[in-house]
Amino acid sequence: MTFWLVSGLMTAAAIVAVLWPLWRRNPEPASDTDLVIYRDQLAEIDRDLAQGGIAPAEAEAARIEVSRRLIAAADRAEKAASRAEADTSPAVRGTRTWRFACAAVLITLPFAASAFYLTIGSPGLPGQPLADRLARANAGAEDSDATTRIATLASMVKRVEAHLERNPDDGRGWEVVAPVYMQFGRHDDAVKAWRNAIRLLGASADRLGSLGEAMVTAAGGTVTPGAKAAFERALKIDREHLTASLYLGLAARQAGDGDEARRIWEGMLARAPDGAEWTSFVRHAIAALGDGPADAKTGTGEPASTPGPSPADARTGTDKPAGTPGPSPADAKTGTDKPAGTPGPSPAAELTSEQRDMARGMVERLAARLAENGSSVEDWLRLVRSYLVLGEPDKARSAASDARRALAGDASKLQRLDSGVKALGVEG
């Protein structure tokens, strides 16, 4: 409420400022100001003369010149004064009308300003100084407020970072901080942290799997050769490692090898314990490969519900600390660690409606920008991905076909687009 009170006071102050001179008694227009200056110039000439700065003849000439200006100014002032006396009553009435008109317009101005502010500002949004957030976080961990939880994590990250700065060889510290980095979207840092953890604590399937996942996310969803190598090493240690298998399937699909992807994922299903939650997700991913020959291009796909372990869900999952807690190596085997693997409704359902509106606004801005200038493959893919996240497969498909049209002139871009779209499991 303080906000409305203070802004109300500010509005009032603005109104006072514009109307104040109208209330006040009119000041006498000071008309002789330039006379003062010329008189001073005359005095200065005398001073110069007295000090020997100028010759008497020059001083006389200068005095005449300034006097001439002085007289002209005095004449002007006199004329102005007599004119002001000449027109009195009718002008005053006119003046009054004008003043009322101006006052009327002026009063509306601050209100127009308020209206303008309401369209561009976020009036309800409180400030969130870091100190407050941290204080709130420390006060009670049971507080379910998302911001608070973020703040708790943040203070933790800070402590761990400070600790690692001093003891860069503490592998355990790197292992703790890495998943948190993923949650904060600091994917590159997560990659570094996992690398350090592996270097110091030795390679384990879980660590390698997480490293690979961080690399994939950092690369915007593409299973890079480095990530693939990490997953393959993980499988060497644990032949049935879940994350690694899942992403290797994705790698195969991104490479256009649908058969291999199907083989890997179906293998996972075959080994799955009863009731494992992740199976439905893998089934969807397989379905997205299509029934026909394993060429992804002919697949029918249900992109909305099964985007596969694509960057889109990887992001919504990992970026949102309010959602599933980060992948901890301990529960990796149960398959619940991976937000990307969360089955069920489209990821957007996890968002509050307010967040969804915001996201939609951003997506729309992106779409508008691309409609104007659609030369960036990455932006198009971002758009398609965003629609998938919002649970709008139709729009995703039409965005993909828009993208093809926009990039039609450029074969290499088109190729990159196609592989990207394929990776997202959208057919346009």
């Binding site: 303080t2 008189r39 001073d40 110039q41 005095a43 561009i120 949004l125 400030g127 100084p129 870091l130």
Partner: protein, 661 residues
Amino acid sequence: MIPELGHYALVLALALALAQSTVPLIGVRRGDAALMEIARSTAIAQFAFAAVSFAALTASYVMSDFSVENVALNSHSAMPLLYKYTSVWGNHEGSMLLWVLILALFGALFAWFSSNVPLALRASALAAQGWVAAAFYLFILLTSNPFARLPAPPIEGLDLNPILQDIGLAIHPPLLYVGYVGFSMAFSFAVAALLIGRIDAAWARWARPWILTAWIFLTLGIAMGSYWAYYELGWGGWWFWDPVENASLMPWIAGTALLHSALVMEKRGALKVWTILLAILTFSLSLMGAFLVRSGVLTSVHTFATDPTRGVFILLILVVFVGGSLALFAWRAPMLKQGGLFAPISREGALVFNNLFLITACATVFVGTLYPLALEAVTGAKITVGAPFFNLTFGPLIVPVLLAAPFGPLLAWKRGDLLAVSQRLLAAAALAVIALIVTFIVQGRPVLAPLGIACGVFVIAGALTDVAERTGLFRTAPQVALRRAVRLPRSAWGAAFGHLALGVMLIGIIGESQWNTERIVAMKVGDKLALAGYDLSFDGAGQRQGPNYTELFATFTVRRDGKVLGVMEPSKRTFAHRDMSTTEAALKTRGFSQLYLSLGEVEPDGTVAVRAYYKPLVLLIWIGAILMAIGGAFSLSDRRLRVGAPRPAKARAKAALQPAE
């Protein structure tokens, strides 16, 4: 809440600027004093709201409120407090807010201290100020809003660009902005004079303090920026003819010309139209500087963001204001009455000479800065116009200005005697010749150097001659001379200082550019390096932790003739959050000269690449600039510029009236 209040205050400031830009003009037209007075109250209130807005953004920075996008993008909670303040303007949005804050401040100061200015002139000038302010408020609110919010704020900000994490940033931009924006007052005065259709000597006296203020700050701002680049960028250069530097140099040159032509107008009522045009041009060049820097047309250290919408918006502002004011000028200027006559050889003539060369020199900088852009737009060829171009064009054009500087103040108004003045400058010329011969014998080397030093000595001695002449030094008893010196108008001191500073700066430039020694070597601990008579030994390297960076430093001991003079510690800072590093040069001052060390790469085997410079007389460059600003301050404090200020002046004017009538 705080950021939102700041946002709202900014919108209210826009509303007030709109009121300020229209209603007073109606008042002028109708002769209604009350409507004219609205200019004052709105100007002051507009400043108050701009200040609230700026304070709100600053508070958000200090409290690390990352729900403000601008803060999240440019700050970091671990930053030292000072940089939390300075990073407010270390980015595009915040710096534009600072820009309008200063603009509003100038308007408010003028509204407050202008009781001596006729009502109509004051109202029109404030209205013009209101137009500029309104345009920039709109620009900020529509394209560069510093109060954009993030509903889900990040935990940590992205940190300020490390290059900008320096005390130089705290000082350089605000000074520069006060300079740039201050010229808006000159612009507003010019537009007001055109609107009213009358301009006289009194106008120049009202406008001059504002022009002077802007000029002083711009001088200091450019000098600080140059010193900052010198020690922060790590390669010892102090002026690069970078387009952004040029963008600040052009208004400065035009402003210097304006200062001089306004003098003619104030004293003699001549050069009216030219002065008005210069006032418009000076501010136009300031605006163009903003356009070049903000639009991303040029990319350089100074470009915070490249965004076409912003560029288009600023271009629009530029076109409207420059085009509009020039059109107004073309329409109304012929109505202005021309003033006093003067002979070519006279103080006025000297000032015209100064204006002519300054403006031409400014034009060459303009061409050099914009030619690459124009060429690329037309032919697609990409070129760089660098120092050689400017040295070849700007240099020869500025030399006549330097040589003429001692003559100007000695010439009489209206009709001067060049021969007599030359005779009075004989001593100065003799000193210059001695300097020429001495430097030639001592240093020899590039012929340009002794000539430049001689020129500098001539300018300095000429400025001193002027003071000596006015006080009658050497001709009368010392006490008399001293008494006269005290009574000498402050503006005379100002002119002397300004011209003297020019000579000092020139000597610094010549010393640095002609005699500087540079060594770039790979060194290992224990290695020694001889540089211009100094011996530097590399004693060791180490690492330490700063608040938000790690620093690798190397320690050097400086000796001369076996005597230890001190230790120099150049370093490299690495900022983890941005994955960037900066070079921190180490400086050792010896008289006006400096030793300069900066580090390059460190090889795994412990070899460090070291840049070592000996820069003779380099400090004179900035000392010159500071002296110049001091000269400006002297002029500004001149009693006469305050004449006509309400009461005390009136009393004095009455006393002075008797001999006149």
